[in-house]
Symmetry: C2
């Protein structure tokens, strides 16, 4: 089943579900609020009136945690000149880092802005210290992310965080597809295009640490709750891996697509 935070024509937002015949309202303003209140209840009793989306909003505007894995596709690891890892490399974002599936990504001039198409896992239950089976059962669904990265800031110091946490630079959406309807282990194509040119194409079946493994690992040290996001890393083909490196310019259109979920389409806007 598909869930989203949709924007009706009146400019509000509402959580919504598509049971198969179109979008219907859910009793919450967005999916973060929906999961906070209803993650332990079946959706069937909550489905309201049909709603016609004028647009799709950031589905999960208020995650408590957005934890990202780097270096998780073998081809991307090799292009960065590294060896296959024994443990996932993790870093953090905040809710402020996220933006909607069709939003402009505004950044000041002079930065080296790069793309990283990713499958994002949406947590649907509260877990800590989960084994693989519990972690797998706690996955509510999947959505698309682009971990847009400010490479010059990422590389200023040993820690990537300051290049990864610019406000409103990580688009998420456009929908969340529930885990019963999508199997990343069977192989979903993760594609990134810049101005129509394909730059990344990966397959989620080649993740070094898959969704359940990542969720279980993270839950060893911190509690995950409904609506939290775990980003699974990006395949090869990022701009900083090209010779010479290529970065996103003002006006560039960034498309991020995953089979069975949809596509993010975001424009880079460079301004002071």
């Amino acid at each position: 089943m598909r869930f989203a935070t949709v924007t009706p024509a009146d400019g509000s937002t509402t959580a919504a579900v598509d049971p198969g015949d179109g979008w219907r309202r859910l009793p919450a303003p967005h999916l973060s609020a929906y999961l906070d209140e209803f993650s332990d209840r079946p959706v069937s009793g909550l489905i309201g009136e049909p709603v016609r989306p004028a647009g799709m909003a950031l589905p999960l505007p208020a995650p408590r945690k957005v934890i990202c894995c780097g270096l998780n596709y073998a081809d991307h690891i090799l292009e960065m000149g590294r060896e296959l890892p024994a443990h996932p490399t993790l870093f953090a974002k905040y809710a402020d880092t996220l933006t909607g599936p069709a939003d402009d990504i505004a950044l000041p001039p002079g930065l080296h802005v790069d793309w990283e198409a990713e499958l994002a896992v949406v947590v649907g239950a509260e877990i800590r210290g989960a084994g693989r089976a519990e972690a797998a059962a706690a996955i509510w669904g999947y959505t698309i992310a682009n971990d847009v990265s400010v490479r010059d800031w990422q590389k200023r110091t040993l820690q990537w965080f300051q290049g990864k946490a610019w406000d409103r630079t990580t688009p998420i959406g456009p929908v969340v597809v529930t885990a019963d309807a999508l199997d990343p282990a069977a192989g979903l194509e993760v594609v990134c295009r810049v101005d129509g040119v394909e730059r990344q194409r990966g397959d989620t079946s080649s993740l070094v640490f898959d969704a359940a493994a990542l969720v279980a690992y993270v839950s060893t040290f911190t509690r995950l709750r409904p609506g939290d996001l775990v980003l699974t890393g990006t395949p090869g083909g990022v701009g900083m891996g090209m010779t010479p490196p290529v970065y996103l310019a003002d006006g560039a259109v960034l498309e991020t697509e995953i089979t069975g979920i949809g596509v993010l389409r975001n424009r880079i806007v460079v301004k002071d």
Copy 2:
């Protein structure tokens, strides 16, 4: 002036202020809620009844961001074998990482748990893209932190986050002293003791990036809001820098003290 989240004998918590003659109630359950609602109002009109604390709670249980600086004291940088940095090294924690000034710090067996006494800056205004003067004016006050670190997890990968974000391992408190009453640039002593033995002693006047510089730098890429925390890094003397390295064992008592603020006293509890 001193602010705190205190625990009266009834087990509740309340935000409180000490105008000089003892603790008085403020109209919020803790300082995070107090700053959310009243950061733009003078405290004078909000001071309520006297309250007798049975204990001190985590003063800021709900920051949206906890952003930490590593490698910020010249002596600690040198003991880690690094050069003085051109930019602050930053990493993130979440609200869940924090714990109270007298709470036990519970961790599973087998980890290399180390201490890092730090001055923490409490943000009191919403800022983004602030220069030094605006950043300095946005500092509400200062408190104490110990960035207790799981070194083996910190060093598993290039990114420190997974060793820095174990739930309930970073004690904060016991009070927040407002910026008009405390000047880190004039030199506050930051001291860490383990089982009564002094392990760290630093002076905040020797910070490479001082409080205002850090707040301004962080605000370049992300919005800071009232109640957010910026940790300023730790002086020399951590356990992993000793020969051989020394880590915190079950039952160890960790004391973290800063002149003019107070002392954190936390016991390490190792359990599955």
